[in-house]
């Protein structure tokens, strides 16, 4: 069962971290876009 938990943990943590990185990058880009317009 420890192998299963390891597989699920690696998958969920990686996808979660990647999702967070996308959200942060998107917010940064939107802020930069607004700055450029003004």
């Amino acid at each position: 069962m420890s192998y299963v938990i390891a597989g699920y943990t690696i998958t969920l943590v990686t996808l979660g971290a990647y999702t967070l990185s996308l959200i942060v990058r998107l917010r940064k880009m939107r802020a930069l876009g607004r700055k450029n317009k003004s």
């Binding site: 699920y8 996808l15 990647y18 876009g33």
Partner: protein, 240 residues
């Protein structure tokens, strides 16, 4: 309507993934032969499905649409870039979860099996694609180069799919889409497997949309700078 769907996609994907984890870990029974390790079936094939067929399939399609003169648009280049980046993440997770499964069933973390090797090669080729995108060049030149590389790399997708048929491999054949089209998995296990495919595809869709938006905003900045530079040159009296 479209905005509502896009806003709901993230929460829907999250709920589906959580449901898949709960079903996979706590509801479905252990397998008669494999025991508890079979629970990896509720993440590993779905990750592979998204990486190989959805992400790299979309990258190949967008690359063809970019290279085709009638449909040439930077939108397809941005979509291909988004699909490849997310696809590489899913491919690496496919290899890691497959390796964990291999350790318990075959006794090794890695073997140079045709399915494993061709999948690793696919990951390396699409990482090369992402590296190529970072090489400074005119946007259309870069888009053309990347589209050609994506199509070249996508040739490996059918090789990965048919590797278990063409060669003697340790990796098992298809469970659902086998040659008889008769799934060898039933009941709650089959439903949870189906749920995993839907959940990870929804998560992929949200990620690609977010990554595509980043790409569009990033390059709209480039366009604004270029427009400003052109205007400045015109003001100087340079014929452009």
């Amino acid at each position: 309507m479209r905005r509502t769907v896009l806003r709901l996609l993230g929460p829907i994907a999250l709920v589906l993934v959580i449901a898949d984890v709960i079903m996979g870990l706590f509801v479905t029974p252990p397998d008669v032969v494999q025991g508890e390790i079979v629970r990896l079936v509720y993440i590993h094939p779905a990750l592979a499905w998204v990486a190989l067929y959805v992400a790299f399939g979309m990258a190949a399609l967008c690359s063809v649409l970019y290279l085709w003169p009638r449909t040439r648009s930077m939108t397809f280049d941005y979509l291909a870039a988004a699909a490849v980046e997310v696809g590489v993440v899913f491919t690496i997770l496919t290899l890691i979860t497959g390796s964990i499964w291999g350790r318990t069933t075959w006794g090794v973390w890695w073997t140079w099996d045709a399915r494993l090797t061709s999948t690793a090669l696919l990951a390396v080729m699409f990482m090369g694609y992402l590296a190529l995108r970072r090489v400074p060049a005119d946007p259309h030149v870069r888009a053309r180069r990347c589209a050609v590389v994506a199509l070249f790399a996508a040739v490996d997708v059918p090789i990965v799919h048919f590797s278990v048929i063409w060669w003697q491999t340790l990796h098992q054949g298809a469970t659902v889409l086998n040659s008889n089209l008769s799934p060898t998995i039933h009941g709650s296990m089959a439903w949870t497997l189906l749920l995993s495919f839907v959940a990870f595809t929804a998560a992929y869709a949200w990620m690609v949309i977010a990554r595509y938006r980043i790409e569009v905003i990033r390059h709209s900045g480039d366009t604004q700078e270029l427009d400003a530079a052109v205007e400045a040159r015109k003001a100087e009296g340079v014929a452009l």
